[in-house]
Symmetry: C2
């Protein structure tokens, strides 16, 4: 996308697209509805983004970056990271829906080389690998597995809306689930803390 | 749904609906397309199932039951269970897509009391609770957490199609991921084996 003096229009398109994709997914999203909500025309949307899928990838990448800012990956404290990720997902369910649609709807193995999702994953894997080299994380795990397992555990409950009580029980229920997530990640990938002695590798 | 002499028609509807929902999700599925594929009419579909959502809940419950048959939950060997669940998801990606759509599209907290998904979860939680009482599983965990964590870990990689290499590397990659899943579940919820001495509770 080229940024120029019509930034205001593109900002409105991005905001409208984020809401539309979170709600309807990629196939269900209507570019016409996005254009209308952004007070512009369909052809303007396609002038910025070459396709509906490209628009989805752009807004999903943007949300992922926002999430990475809000939930800093600290490889010396993965339990804390998982807890923050759980909090974020519970607080912003629509952002997580946005990402999930992509897993279901994007054709497999066809991400463009500059896909921001892939890029963000590569950066995180690199961070974990360095923490393994520094003795903060057991080097017996592949860093990809660490990343995916922590995020799967962290998001265990945020998406289980049918299993989560509504009403006044909700907060206590989610607090207990959060504590269990942190405990599970602590057992798998114990926090060392940046000022603690690194654990013996392979312990 | 009432079963009667027109079982052949309802079987065709169920088969067509399973494929349609796996591919397009709930909102994207077209009852007309399902009816056509099942060589019947839309009104017949609605005679069996009162709504598209009811039809989805029926086929998703059916798939879940088939999966539970294929991947037996053995509370004394959760690592083995996780490995089998991973295998099943890798072998039948369309069945897992079918379940994921429900998480995204079904309205939260509105499952009917006889929802087969809820029913299947309740049964599994009960099995885990009994295994905790018998000393096979650490009773410090809530059984719901055990169930969700094991299934999140088991399905870590089956859905990550963008992170999975295609071509000849694929099998070795997935075998390594499977081994990591089994190792992670073993660390969290060690297998005792039905003939082994139960682990000390809380160990």
């Amino acid at each position: 996308m080229t940024r120029n003096s019509t930034d205001a229009t593109s900002d409105r398109i991005i905001a409208a697209a984020t809401a539309e994709f979170a709600r309807h997914g990629i196939a269900g999203a209507r570019v016409e509805r996005i254009a209308k909500e952004a007070r512009t025309g369909k052809e303007r949307v396609y002038a910025y983004f070459r396709s509906k899928e490209a628009l989805y990838r752009f807004v999903a990448g943007r949300e992922l970056a926002a999430m990475a800012d809000a939930v800093q990956l600290d490889p010396t404290d993965l339990p804390g990271y998982a807890g923050r990720m759980h909090d974020h997902a519970v607080r912003h369910p629509e952002r997580h829906r946005l990402m999930l649609w992509g897993q279901l709807e994007l054709p497999a193995g066809q991400a463009p080389a500059d896909d921001p999702l892939q890029e963000s994953l590569r950066r995180k894997v690199e961070l974990l690998r360095k923490a393994q080299d520094a003795g903060h994380l057991d080097p017996a795990w592949a860093p990809e597995d660490i990343l995916v397992f922590v995020s799967q555990l962290a998001l265990s409950w945020a998406g289980q809306t049918d299993l989560t009580p509504v009403g006044e029980e909700r907060d206590a229920f989610l607090a207990a689930r959060r504590a269990a997530i942190v405990a599970a990640v602590q057992r798998l990938f114990p926090a060392t803390g940046s000022d603690a002695t690194p654990t013996a590798a392979g312990s």
